[in-house]
């Protein structure tokens, strides 16, 4: 398996960042192995990390009194999990659980946002990338609201 330093430049999330910035980010990163069912974070936890899945699958879950536990999204190889580390109040908004044995790179978000506060360029670059992750999740949530495969003609003329 490639080291984190080797892996980062090819990952779309980090694409375009210069070598010193990548080195800095890699310095804040650790490889973590998870057994199936192990949690990366829980809703309400301090959001001090974000993750990139290297193998396996991570389920993004929420819980409700009526709905019980609902998996809203899954992150597979290459997907980024977590944005709350860069958005005040830095609190996790979901649970993230390894749906199967998985490997992730965990980034120390608390350390990185400290650096972002003093380096506006780094802050902007990371904020741009995190916004894309958020946007992806927002579009997915919007589409789910449309309940495309649900009731007949739920959103358009088509029931299928």
């Amino acid at each position: 398996m490639r080291t984190i330093e080797q892996y980062l430049p090819d990952h779309p999330f980090f694409e375009g960042l210069d070598a010193p910035t990548l080195a800095l980010i890699a310095g804040c990163a650790t490889n973590i192995s998870l057994a199936a069912g192990e949690y990366l974070c829980h809703e309400g936890d301090a959001a001090d990390h974000f993750f990139v899945v290297r193998r396996g699958r991570v389920a993004i879950e929420v819980h409700g009194p009526a709905a019980g536990t609902l998996v809203l999204d899954t992150a597979d190889e290459g997907d980024v999990v977590g944005w709350s580390w860069l958005v005040p109040p830095y609190v996790s908004t979901f649970d993230a659980r390894a749906a199967e044995a998985s490997g992730v790179v965990a980034f120390d978000g608390a350390c990185l946002r400290g650096k972002c506060d003093t380096d506006a360029h780094l802050g902007y670059e990371l904020m741009k990338r995190v916004t894309q992750v958020m946007n992806g999740r927002l579009v997915a949530a919007q589409m789910r609201l449309l309940d495309l495969y649900g009731g007949p003609g739920a959103t358009d003329a088509s029931p299928r």
Binding site: L70, V71, M143, L148, Y149, R160
Partner: protein, 285 residues
Amino acid sequence: MPRLAEPTAVQPVESAMVPRLFRLVDRRQDTADTFTIMLEPNDGVPLAFIPGQFTMLSAFGVGEVPISVSGDAHVAGPLQHTVRDVGAVTHALARTAVGDVMGVRGPYGTGWDVADGHSRDVVFVGGGIGLAPLRPAVLEVLAHREDFGRVVLMYGARSPEELLFVDELKQWEDQGMEVLVTVDYGRESWQGRVGLVTKLIPRAGFDPRSTLALICGPEVMMRHTALALVGRGVRSSRIRVSLERNMRCGVGLCGHCQYRELFVCVDGPVLPYAQVTGLLGLREV
């Protein structure tokens, strides 16, 4: 004075509107609201169709609806339709029992034309009940697997319980198709993917420069999927979608299915995405 042309032999309108009688010989409940019916013609003459075509199915005394054929076009056997129970007519069809008789007109409309994908990669994207109209095309490709490059199915449904043809999906994988499935919501016990079907597109193994893509599902899903495929490099002229519009005659006479200049019943339902790019998602006229 020039003579008027002799009238050519055309099928009288009345006969195009008269259904043939078919008997329900078998029935399978696929999900809570979706079922597959197998029909044999009372007159013994099988109904030949090409993948992508639909028939007008009538539940006598209730009404008639367009439903795509979901069976194998090249294997003799009952005519097969997979139907989602959404309203008056589909509900009446859902209540039919083995031995009951229903009306069938058709087959009508255009097909997927999978032969156009020979020597190329073929990508199927189905959403919800949209996998049913794609199934005959999938079966055709898999029956001639060696004629095609990589073959991929991306399939999205609302929940794991609403996935269609689950056992067959495994067989299709064994027959050399990459099958990627995702659902909108899953319970903790679901180990598969959750998320939009479009999320699968960057992961699927196909060469966008040499791909025929066939999409069937709700229009919003087809629009987003087509955009994502174009984004990956598939030419819009190599993408086909199957459109749905309310239908009455099914043969281009009544105008019920009109979609700007198109009559979906005769010009479609399968149309090149390039031809309907601006129309997808439009309300009916």
